[in-house]
Symmetry: C2
Subunit: 223 residues, 2 copies
């Protein structure tokens, strides 16, 4: 009982900070995308490929969330864009209070798009809203078709699914139609793109989604 | 402060139950192996391939941990061995109290080996001791070389690393020597096997590790 209360308090406090963050993001007119997945599904590689296409036409920033190491932030820093590193020191997800500190290191008002690369974990990050406009889940085809059914919270709270590493399809047993059916069973509104960071399949379509989303938000923006 | 105290209390209580479980496992003379990994690294497939080799010569039971669905337990049940399913309903790891309930459904005294397939999560299960004799971490080569550095707790608390899906090496950019170096940097005592569930590479060697471990424990057992 005590545990549940503490957990609820943590999530309530997190949501309050996230709601404030969302206001800040909207005021800065920046589209914020929270990238979530299992470890090694290709979040950093997808961000790298995306930057190659949308930057510098769009001004992009990245917040890198890791339990340990700044390896991913170092990869992204090579693009000469603003990057903030969060090292969670064992915490298995990013929380709004961590983002609050990280955004202070970024020129938020100069950005068009801000990617938040969450900790590689298909479970816990699903409970923590970070004030983002869109949550994007990445699933590698090497992980098997059943992942949406086994980790439903992450798929139900995302608006885009990047089915990644599809260049490996000829070498594995993976029924992509079945995987999509499972994902849409959990979330019928999920927009699905098949992607590969090896041959860039689907990366342009995914980038089009980002630029469209940005246009839509700016059209609807009161400012 | 309050949160930390509650967390410490939970972990302390977990360790107490796990220590009792360990006594129970030792009394039953059963080798208990806790299988941990990211989602989709191949835990269930490894168990399936292992069962084909070591069962029925050895009597094996399996505890399947999942957040949702009993898909994995259904796969294992086809081997006609005792299987207990734990559905954690959102909890991102198995805890000793869950194992305590699950073992009551199993003929513990008749078993030689008990596999516990943990929730697919490279972070949280590392904090929860389940009374096991060995923790085995599975890492798919598709996840990238840096996983041991980025998720060090799991690798430092495991005694075996199965580097899985190595049949995919010709199709990906993955430096296996580098990955092993990173794993051994985190844990110099880690025993590493390269495995594939497609062509059975390394499965026999991994099964030899199990049978040797079983012999060693029974030799050293006071009973």
């Amino acid at each position: 009982m005590e545990i549940i209360t503490v957990e609820q308090k943590i999530l309530k406090k997190n949501d309050e900070i996230a709601t404030e963050l969302r206001k800040k993001f909207d005021e800065a007119n920046v589209l914020v995308i929270n990238m979530v997945s299992s470890p090694g599904s290709g979040k950093t590689s997808i961000i790298e490929r995306t930057l190659k296409i949308i930057s510098p036409a769009l001004s992009v920033g990245v917040i890198e969330g890791d339990i340990q190491t700044s390896l991913d932030a170092e990869r992204i820093a090579q693009f000469n864009i603003p990057v903030a590193q969060i090292i969670t020191n064992g915490t298995c997800h990013l929380e709004a209070r961590m983002i609050e500190q990280a955004v202070n290191q970024l020129p938020l008002k100069d950005l068009d798009v801000l990617f938040i690369e969450n900790v590689g974990n298909l479970v816990c990050p699903s409970s923590y809203y970070l004030g983002e406009h869109a949550r994007v889940v990445i699933m590698s085809v090497t992980e098997g078709e059943d992942k949406p059914l086994k980790y439903p919270a992450m798929f139900s709270k995302s608006c885009v699914l990047l089915m990644n590493k599809i260049d490996l399809l000829p070498h594995i047993i993976f029924d992509i139609a079945k995987a999509k059916k499972f994902a849409l069973k959990i979330n019928p509104d999920l927009k699905i793109y098949e992607t590969s960071c090896y041959d860039n399949t689907g990366i342009m379509q995914w980038c089009d989604w980002i630029t469209n989303e940005l246009k839509l938000r700016r059209c609807n923006s009161p400012s």
